[in-house]
């Protein structure tokens, strides 16, 4: 067990050094680096979308409907004459919004359930894990569909539905970590010193579970992107005229045979983003798990 000593107070904090070291290790793998670059680009595009987009993503111009890709409209126009490239660019914001929101809900929720179950054990564990298994016993997309059906379609509801179905793996993972940790000496020492359960959970268990949970959350982001796009495609996620990529595919479907770009472009965007998240997740997993370094 290593002891953290704050000898370099005033200098860069230890976590910053670690983050830089991790980033350097990630960039060494070319595929992971590619994933990181695409995600960085996604964030950048989302931030700058209003300035980068050549046109208003919602402005209709029926005289210029269904134009093929070409100068002026690099990705063509849709059935209302809206510029597809501008819609794609603004769509990055929705995609990021979904990914971030789902992750922010799922991480703490899953970790709370898992750490509490693993630390207290016994009945608490049995009840919480039963609950987890209950949710896991449905394919996640189908359960998300059921939630959206009950709540009504919409972007917020889609996010909530995805979050409600995505926490069990995180709970399982943090429970396993908490189970192995709760017997260790430093936890027992903390308890003997009179630390409350809340303190042990928040100050000792949660920080130690965090790295593996973060890796798992990153690996999960690709499937969040895909599920959100699927819900949008089924007409249950973001509603028109919002330029959500799945919804754009759904709208473009009717014109697909003549205007293939309406479907091809948003789909390629989804593919690029989910590939990037998968690459980053795999890379993080390899970098943080030395056992897999073969």
């Amino acid at each position: 067990m290593s002891i953290a000593v704050d000898s370099n107070a005033g200098a860069r904090p230890a976590w910053a050094d670690e983050a830089v070291a991790l980033l350097r290790r990630l960039m060494r793998n070319r595929l992971t680096a590619a994933g990181l670059v695409v995600i960085g680009l996604l964030v950048l595009l989302a931030l700058l979308a209003p300035w980068l987009a050549p046109a208003d993503p919602l402005r209709q111009d029926l005289a210029r409907a269904l134009l093929p890709p070409g100068p002026g409209h690099w990705f063509g126009t849709d059935e209302f004459g809206r510029d597809v490239l501008s819609r794609l660019l603004h769509g990055t914001r929705i995609t990021l919004f979904i990914v971030v929101l789902v992750t922010v809900v799922v991480g703490p929720l899953g970790m709370a359930v898992g750490v509490v179950a693993g630390y207290f054990g016994g009945r608490v564990d049995a009840v919480l894990m039963r609950l987890t298994d209950m949710v896991l016993s449905f394919p996640s997309l189908i359960l998300a569909l059921a939630f959206v059906a009950a709540m009504g379609p919409g972007l917020d509801h889609a996010v909530l539905a995805i979050a409600l179905t995505a926490w069990p793996p995180i709970a399982r993972l943090s429970r396993a970590e908490a189970l192995t940790l709760r017997q260790s000496d430093f936890i027992v020492v903390a308890q003997l010193q009179g630390a409350s359960n809340t303190r042990v959970l928040l100050k000792h268990l949660v920080p130690l579970c965090l790295p593996s949970v973060l890796v798992r959350l990153t690996m999960n982001m690709a499937s969040v992107v895909l599920t959100a796009a699927g819900l949008g495609f089924l007409g249950l996620g973001a509603q028109p005229p919002l330029p959500e990529w799945g919804a754009m595919i759904s709208e473009g479907r009717r014109y697909m045979l003549d205007s293939w770009w309406l479907v091809a472009a948003p789909g390629a965007a989804i593919l690029a983003v989910s590939t990037a998240f998968n690459l980053l997740g795999d890379g993080l997993n390899d970098a943080l798990d030395p056992r897999q370094n073969t």
Binding site: I142, L143, A150, L234, W260, V263, N278
Partner: protein, 336 residues
């Protein structure tokens, strides 16, 4: 097997099923969407509303409602579907064979391509078959299946004219094949109708290939990992030293030892196909469970939605249990 693990297994199944029921019940009854409004519409007056409210038993305590729900389920009653006017249970029996046919062919494609690819990647670790498997695995994991299906339709149906397009069979054959099993390929073969069989196959291949890509990606990845673990062990070195051919070493020794693991993975992947089927069927107008579910969803037909979700949940749980059981049967170490 002694009685205790068996008992625990039965208790596990019972609680899983009860969990499924509670969850579907809660989603169906407690969520904000008002089931009365779905039936009477927003323009109904107060007395009609309350009458329907009472008829549905919604004025009763939740526990009573749940009891009634269980009771009707015990009679195989999932309620009436608004869309078709039929009992949901009968609708599901009608649509599930179409999904089973699609998912089974997809699984076959996934296994026949994914497993050899995984083995090849493991035996050529770090060389081009390995990279190929990795790229395919990554794409299979990252591609939105509904988009892939639409691009497939665009290329193979609209541009090349190879695939059959929307639906299960050509319009000319629609309704001509007598339903025996509900599996159209099998029914056409039983009827001895070769043109209908060919038309059905042409319609089935593209959606099955699209759906199968995902399982192929998953299976090749897992096969590769399993094989790599085996190939690094000492008995493999022994076999090589003994002078066995590479083929005997790979297929006769290493592959033999991963068969049980593979079997469980295949069963799990089959469950994943049920999920992919929802989106794929919507794209291909495939009249199976997925189209039924999404159609009901868009109409707000909660009976049909919850019935479908429950049935899928039960199928999913049974698949997992079956996997567990297979593992015990085939791996003597797990039975202890």
């Amino acid at each position: 097997m002694s009685a205790r693990p068996l008992l625990r297994g039965v208790a596990g199944i019972a609680t899983s099923l009860l969990g499924l029921l509670v969850l579907t019940f809660l989603i169906g009854r407690v969520m904000p969407l008002d089931p009365v409004l779905a039936i009477v519409g927003p323009d109904a007056d107060r007395s009609t509303y309350e009458q329907v409210h009472r008829q549905l038993g919604l004025d009763q305590p939740l526990a009573v409602q749940f009891g009634r729900y269980l009771l009707s389920l015990a009679h195989g009653d999932l309620g009436q579907a608004l869309l078709t006017g039929n009992p949901v249970a009968r609708d599901l029996v009608r649509v599930l064979p179409a999904t089973a046919e699609l998912a089974t062919l997809a699984m076959l494609i996934g296994v026949l391509l994914g497993v050899p690819l995984g083995v090849l990647a493991a035996t050529h670790h770090g060389r081009w078959p390995d990279h190929l498997a990795r790229v395919l695995g990554l794409l299979g994991h990252s591609t939105p299946v509904f988009w892939f299906g639409m691009m497939g339709l665009l290329v193979f149906y609209a541009w090349l004219g190879w695939a059959g397009g929307i639906g299960r069979i050509g319009l000319a054959f629609e309704g001509n094949v007598p339903t025996v099993t509900g599996l159209l390929l099998l029914d056409a073969a039983l009827a001895g109708d070769a043109p209908a069989w060919r038309s059905a196959l042409r319609h089935l291949l593209l959606p099955a290939a699209v759906l199968g890509l995902h399982s192929m990606a998953y299976l090749s990845r897992m096969t590769r990992a399993f094989m790599l673990a085996q190939l690094s062990q000492e008995y493999i070195t022994t076999a090589r030293v003994k002078g066995l051919t590479e083929r005997q070493v790979v297929w006769g020794h290493a592959f033999r030892n991963i068969r049980v693991q593979l079997l469980t993975i295949v069963a799990l992947a089959y469950g994943g196909l049920l999920e992919g089927a929802v989106l794929t069927e919507t794209v291909f107008g495939w009249p199976g469970f997925g189209s039924y579910l999404t159609g009901s969803l868009l109409l707000g037909d909660m009976n049909a939605v919850m019935g479908s979700v429950l049935v899928i949940g039960v199928l999913f749980v049974s698949l997992n249990l079956l996997t567990d059981a297979l593992y015990r049967v085939f791996d003597p170490r797990a039975a202890a």
